[in-house]
C-alpha cells in the first residue's frame, strides 16, 4: 500500500507527536507514505477568512503534486484534510474558481485527487479484522471518549467522512484495540480552536464543556485526530481547569498514539513525552 503523504505544517511544531506516531504506525503496518516533495501550507483558517480564491489555491498547489504522483493523498491533520477537500469541491463545482486556481498555481488541476485521512486508510484499506491481528497489546478496557470536532466531519457535502452527527470511525478503532469507546454527547462539538490566540476566553469556555462531559461519562482519556482539538484540550487544560474551578488531569491523545501502543511501538517513537497532561493512566491500564 503506497500513498502520497501530506504532513501539514503542524507536523513540525504543535503536532509533532501526531506526525511521529502516525509514521511509526504506518511503518509497522507496511503502509508506505511518500512525503510530497516541496509541499506547502494549506492556508488553514487564515486563508479562508481572508480570500476565497487564495484558500482554494494554496491546497491546490499540493493536490497537483499528488496528481503527478498518481497516488491517493493521505493526510493526518484534520484542518489540512478539510481545506484540501474544500479546494477539490470548489474546483469541481465552480468552473470560474477552477480557472482562477489554475492561473494562480500555473498548472492544470481538475480536483480529482482522492484525499484521505489516515483513519480512513486504516478502516477501509486494512480493516479492523486484519488490524486486530497486528496488535500485540490490548487497551484492557480503557474508557476512551472519542472526540472528532468539526473539521473531519463538516460540512458533510464536502467531507463525506462518516456520520456528521454521530461518527464512529475512531470508536471502531478503540474497540478493536480492546478499549471501551464511550457514548457521549460532545463528539462533534467545537473546541474553539479557531480563536486559540485571539479569543482564548471563548476557547476555554467551549473546551471546558467538552472535557467536563467526557469526564462525567467516565472517560480515562480523550482520543482525537485533529491537532487543533488536541492543542485546545491538552495544552490549554490548565487554563480550562482555572475556568471550571476544578482539576481534570484528563490525557488527550492522538488515535495514532493509542494504535502505536497496541502495536508495541516504543513510547519515544510515539511522542508520548510531548503530551502536556501525563498519560500515565493509559500506560498503567495497558501494562
Amino acid at each position: 500500500m503506497k500513498y502520497a503523504y501530506y504532513p501539514g505544517c503542524s507536523a513540525h511544531s504543535t503536532a509533532r507527536d501526531m506526525h511521529e506516531s502516525s509514521m511509526a504506525v504506518a511503518r509497522s503496518l507496511d503502509i508506505e507514505l511518500v512525503e510530497l516533495k516541496g509541499w506547502s501550507c494549506c492556508g488553514a483558517t487564515a486563508a479562508h477568512q481572508t480570500d476565497r480564491a487564495l484558500a482554494a489555491s494554496l491546497p491546490s498547489a499540493n493536490l497537483v503534486l499528488a496528481k503527478t504522483s498518481g497516488l491517493d493523498m493521505v493526510v493526518n491533520c484534520a484542518a489540512c484534510y478539510n481545506r484540501l477537500k474544500y479546494a477539490n469541491h470548489e474546483i469541481i463545482t465552480m468552473p470560474a474558481m477552477r480557472q482562477q486556481v489554475n492561473d494562480a498555481i500555473g498548472r492544470e488541476y481538475d480536483g480529482s485527487v482522492k484525499v484521505r485521512h489516515l483513519v480512513e486508510v486504516l478502516l477501509e484499506d486494512i480493516g479492523v479484522v486484519k488490524l486486530r491481528k497486528h496488535f500485540k497489546q490490548s487497551l484492557n478496557g480503557l474508557k476512551v471518549a472519542c472526540y472528532y470536532g468539526c473539521l473531519l466531519v463538516r460540512p458533510p457535502e464536502v467531507m463525506n467522512f462518516d456520520d456528521p452527527e454521530n461518527p464512529t470511525s475512531l470508536d471502531r478503532l478503540v474497540n478493536a484495540m480492546g478499549g471501551e469507546s464511550l457514548e457521549w454527547p460532545y463528539k462533534v462539538e467545537c473546541c474553539g480552536g479557531g480563536l486559540s490566540l485571539t479569543r482564548t476566553d471563548v476557547l476555554v469556555k467551549l473546551s471546558a464543556l467538552i472535557i467536563e462531559a467526557a469526564q462525567a461519562c467516565g472517560a480515562d482519556c480523550i482520543a482525537v485526530a485533529c491537532p487543533m482539538c488536541q492543542s485546545s484540550l491538552d495544552l490549554r487544560q490548565k487554563d480550562i481547569e482555572k475556568e471550571a474551578g476544578k482539576r481534570f488531569n484528563l490525557p488527550v491523545v492522538y488515535i495514532s498514539q493509542l494504535l502505536g501502543l497496541c502495536l508495541g511501538i516504543p513510547h519515544k517513537e510515539l511522542g508520548l513525552n510531548r503530551l502536556m497532561v501525563n498519560p500515565s493512566v493509559i500506560l498503567k491500564t495497558i501494562a
Binding site: W39, A47, L54, C150, V153, L195, R199
Partner: protein
C-alpha cells in the same frame, strides 16, 4: 425580537455582494433557526447566525460589518451542516469577513484579522506556517504580550514549537499564488 436595520442607498444593501461572493441564495432561508441552535458562539455574540441572514435579507448595510459575530464565528460549519435548505452560512460569514477587510471597519476584540495577516505573511515568505514568527508579530502588533508566555518554555522543551523557520516548500509557487490573489483583488472582481 425586533430587528432594526439602516437601509443603504442601494436597495439590497450588502445582500447582493454577499450572495455573489458566497454563492448562496439568501432567499432560501425561512428562519427555522437550526443554525443558531447548533452555533457554539450564538450566546456569546451580538447576533446569532439566523439573525445575520435575516438582516441581510432585509437589506442591511455596512453597519452589519461591525457585528461581532463575524469574527467570533469559529467556522465550525455546524450551521451549514444542519441547514434544511443547505445554505452555506459559514461561507456567508467568510464573505462578510472579506468585506470588513476591504471596507476597513473597526477591529474586533482579539484582532483576528491581524493574526490572519501575520500567519499568512509567514506562509508567503517561507511557503509554510512559522508559528513563532506569526505569534510574535501578532503580539507586537497589539495582541496580549504576556498571554501564554508561561507555556513557551514547556512547548520548546517538548518540541511543540519550532525555533527555526520551516524549509523545503516550493516557495516560488506559493509566492505566485499570493501575487495572483492580490492582483485579482486589485482588479475589483
Amino acid at each position: 425580537m425586533t430587528i432594526k436595520i439602516k437601509k443603504q442607498a442601494a436597495e439590497t444593501g450588502l445582500r447582493r455582494k454577499v450572495e455573489e461572493m458566497s454563492g448562496v441564495d439568501l432567499s432560501l432561508c425561512y428562519q427555522c433557526k437550526k443554525c443558531t441552535c447548533g452555533c457554539p458562539v450564538a450566546k456569546l455574540s451580538q447576533s446569532p447566525p439566523s439573525e445575520i441572514v435575516r438582516r441581510l435579507q432585509l437589506g442591511a448595510g455596512n453597519e452589519l460589518l461591525e457585528n461581532d459575530h463575524i469574527w467570533l464565528c469559529l467556522s465550525c460549519e455546524t450551521c451549514y451542516s444542519r441547514c434544511p435548505m443547505q445554505i452555506n452560512v459559514a461561507s456567508v460569514i467568510d464573505a462578510l469577513r472579506t468585506l470588513t477587510l476591504a471596507r476597513k471597519t473597526s477591529l474586533p476584540r482579539g484582532n483576528s484579522p491581524l493574526f490572519n495577516r501575520t500567519f499568512l505573511k509567514a506562509v508567503e515568505t517561507y511557503g509554510r506556517s512559522y508559528d513563532l514568527l506569526a505569534i510574535m508579530q501578532y503580539k507586537l502588533g497589539g495582541g496580549n504580550l504576556t498571554q501564554d508566555v508561561e507555556k513557551f518554555p514547556t512547548m520548546l522543551k517538548k518540541g511543540k514549537m519550532a525555533i527555526l523557520p520551516p524549509s523545503g516548500a516550493d516557495k516560488k509557487t506559493v509566492k505566485q499564488i499570493f501575487k495572483k490573489a492580490q492582483q485579482h483583488k486589485g482588479s475589483g472582481k
